[in-house]
Symmetry: C2
Subunit: 286 residues, 2 copies
Amino acid sequence: MPEAASAAATRAAIGDSEFDRDTAVHRRAPGVYALDLSAGWTIINAVNGGYLLAVLGRALGDALPHADPFTVSAHYLTASRPGPALVRTETVRTGRTLSTGQASLFQFDDEGNEVERIRVLASYGDLDALPDDVRTSATPPAIPPMDQCFGPEDGPAPVEGSSAIADRLMLKLDPATLGWALGQPSGRGEMRAWFGLADGRDADPLSLLLAVDALPPTAFELGLKGWVPTVELTVHVRCRPAPGPLRVSVTTRNLAGGFLEEDAEVWDSADRLVAQSRQLARARLG
Amino acid sequence: MPEAASAAATRAAIGDSEFDRDTAVHRRAPGVYALDLSAGWTIINAVNGGYLLAVLGRALGDALPHADPFTVSAHYLTASRPGPALVRTETVRTGRTLSTGQASLFQFDDEGNEVERIRVLASYGDLDALPDDVRTSATPPAIPPMDQCFGPEDGPAPVEGSSAIADRLMLKLDPATLGWALGQPSGRGEMRAWFGLADGRDADPLSLLLAVDALPPTAFELGLKGWVPTVELTVHVRCRPAPGPLRVSVTTRNLAGGFLEEDAEVWDSADRLVAQSRQLARARLG
């Protein structure tokens, strides 16, 4: 990734990066935002669900009186495609410390009719206004140093098929969760990685919405193949991330009845648990 | 609880129990349901959030082509009170195996204006249509036999203040998570209990929505006092529960910035993980 590499050397700034440009929304009317879904955040042909969540999160951050997503619940309805899209937001409730909004992402069928892709409920606040008090029993995931982890550029490609998103992420997977890439899945529902943006942009609450859904599916380590479409994904942003790479740990404990949960934790360079997420996804058993 | 006790002897049936009567909704028009929030499911003066979720879940089960909640995401907006209420539902998407809907619970201010209490996004399906395949690494919580656990009737009251809901639940708390009731909180964010309905009604997907939010807050074992209001609660129903008492385990790992997550697992008598939930709640630190 020569481009990404050179970009990383200069370190893109928050607000002026691939991620910011590709999640930009343009206010056309109160609560109506136009945008183009970039082909740069696709896995095989599917637009990454975390990227889509970040687009919706950016629109809500503009529409609501509070800027930071605290909890975002998304139900995925139909498959998004790169290209023109519309976000419609509704302010549900405005409070002193929290505001709640709803947003939907639409694209257009051949007749130009709107087709809803995702619907989101979210509560926003001000992360900088939270007290510093931390009483956590959670500990950062044990991931080897970055130079002992492997990314798409190290091959064998951790994500089968072409995957444009790989060029936009700094993803270094824990070898302990890479068995599937060698045809030897561990059987454990675990995926761990160092995570960043390829152009060096530091993390912010919006990019955390991407980070929770950016690793290969834990289903690969459970021996399953193919797409694991998300039905519902809820993210809690707990703290503004410090500069530097993130550590992401995703765990699946219960694969049953053709569905599985994926619990993600995101830790920043200051060893703070900055985001937690859980999604329900369909699994193709076999 | 002489009434509950005698009722338990006769074992109320699903569809004919306190829980069913108190969550009943009456269809007034397509997608419009009238109901009365019962005072029987309050903790101190707050209407239990799981009870409210079950009311919304029942309305959505009637409005959508699929009957069983698979994933329900609720954002709590304003405090509900016992009394008249309205649920408005919207069918967002109808699919072959899953349907997605939205529902809002309203009550009325002094001028009779609707005030929104909770907004929900939910995807429904048919639990009985799921394949039997189970590959889970999750194990049931270690809770002592029921006769070694303690409920409100055993005193000291696990829930401070009067609590009507205690008369409607069969709640037997693991002594290992009861330190707070003796003024000696463990400092661990854990709460475990045997759970059932006092009149003996067996569990179903709707009562699982109650079960995930029916235990005392884990914050009590973390040494906090007072109400822990839910901001957002998402439940995944993974399996139709077998008859018999449930085991509920709630864990908090990260109390920070005045918020905490509560992760609940619900296990049935057949040792199946039947529901998982996570909520983000406010905590009064100090």
